[in-house]
């Protein structure tokens, strides 16, 4: 049992170091773990991804919790969740210490001056890609033609119009979207 705990910690510590980017960056690692150790089946993995998506919280961390739980119960889930945030925690603290130290240095501001427009572009491109995926679908016949999903376009317009003028209420946007999804389908 101790050996399993150590292996779990080791594998998820590695994910914490090497998965750079969003939560989905952890997926290839989980597939690797599945094929390497057989702690859970492929079908269970698919289920974990689905549940992690519908649970609040960062998807990558959710998947770690779920995998740990499936493999070794509650103690397993505590180990994997701790393991996946260990390395990022140390790195984040180190970076903040460095930023604080060099904050007044104008070269650091030169760098951030470029990072900010890049962040905006990154977010917009993610938004556009998600929007394209959501409002179009490919016909499943011989033509494979791309069709518009008018329900999705309708819901998008309904949500963006009022909320872009309102005070910031992220939870309300999420709940309105969920309700819209249930009503429209």
């Amino acid at each position: 049992m101790l050996k399993l705990y150590i292996l779990l910690y080791y594998e998820f510590f590695k994910i914490g170091i090497f998965a750079i980017g969003g939560g989905y960056a952890t997926l290839p690692f989980l597939y690797f773990i599945q094929s390497q150790y057989n702690w859970f089946s492929l079908e269970e993995l698919t289920n974990m991804i689905a549940v992690s998506n519908v649970t609040p919280g960062p998807i990558g961390i959710n998947m770690a919790t779920y995998t740990g739980y499936t493999t070794a119960g509650i103690s397993g889930s505590i180990i994997t969740t701790t393991a996946i945030i260990t390395a990022p925690f140390i790195i984040a603290i180190t970076i903040m210490k460095l930023i604080n130290k060099f904050k007044s240095c104008k070269e650091v501001n030169y760098i951030f001056n470029g990072l900010r427009p890049a962040s905006c572009a990154l977010l917009i491109s993610i938004g556009l890609k998600l929007l394209y995926q959501t409002i179009t679908y490919t016909e499943e016949d011989w033509s494979m033609s791309v069709q518009f999903d008018y329900h999705a376009i309708f819901l998008f317009i309904i949500l963006i119009l009022p909320f872009s003028f309102m005070k910031k209420r992220p939870l309300l946007v999420i709940l309105a979207g969920a309700l819209g999804g249930i009503i429209l389908n």
Binding site: F18, A19, I20, G21, G22, G23, N47, A50, S52, N53, V54, T55, P56, G57, P58, I61, N62, T65, Y66, I74, S77, I85, P88, I91, A92, I95, M96, I99, E107, Y110, I111, N113, G114, L115, R116, P117, A118, S119, C120, A121, L122, L123, I124, S125, I126, G127, L128, L130, T134, L155, F156, I160, K168, P170, V173, G177, G181, I182, L184, N185
Partner: protein, 183 residues
């Protein structure tokens, strides 16, 4: 700025953790609301910087941004409280869902709701950028940089970390050269 106490940091990130549905990017509007607007522990610029840096370092983006913000509020122990608060709600939610062993995700209503939430996430991303815009894209240079990067990201499969590093270098050298010219 009032000094943040650890329990309060934990509580806020616990609240954010509950509301973090539909992927990590939703943490940005939540932090804008709770930390930038309501408590003023962070400035809009700092939040954008944390997001950018989070792209290039290991770890889950939402978790990294949470730790940076927690550190800003109360150093290392603040960062620890932030990440613990953020993951507590999902930890219990996962344990409960996993032990129920139901086909929760196959449920039609749950699927429809998440179809709608996907659209909410897009709307939230757009609103977030709208708020960051004036602090980020506000000169001829930053406008040009923004559009070039946007085109690159849309048409080429480039990694976000690469984009962030290139933008940092471009801006650094552009301003450094400008500085020499003016000197």
């Amino acid at each position: 700025m009032r000094k943040a106490n650890l329990t309060e940091i934990y509580k806020i990130f616990f609240l954010i953790g509950i509301q973090l549905l539909g992927g990590g990017y939703v943490i940005l509007p939540l932090l804008q609301k709770y930390l930038v607007e309501e408590r003023k522990w962070l400035t809009e610029e700092e939040l954008i910087d944390y997001f950018a840096v989070s792209q290039c370092i290991p770890g889950i983006i939402a978790g990294n941004i949470a730790m940076f913000s927690g550190y800003k509020a109360r150093k290392t122990s603040g960062a620890l409280m932030a990440i613990l608060g953020l993951i507590t709600p999902s930890f219990f939610a996962i344990i409960i869902l996993a032990s129920l062993l139901t086909t929760f995700t196959d449920n039609k209503i749950v699927q429809d709701a998440f179809w709608g939430i996907r659209i909410s996430v897009i709307v939230l991303i757009i609103i977030t950028v709208k708020e960051m815009w004036s602090k980020s894209v506000n000169s001829k240079f930053t406008y040009i940089l923004f559009f070039i990067i946007l085109l690159l990201l849309i048409f080429l499969p480039v990694s976000p970390a690469f984009i962030i590093i290139i933008s940092a270098l471009t801006s650094f050298f552009y301003l450094k050269i400008g500085e020499k010219k003016n000197a």
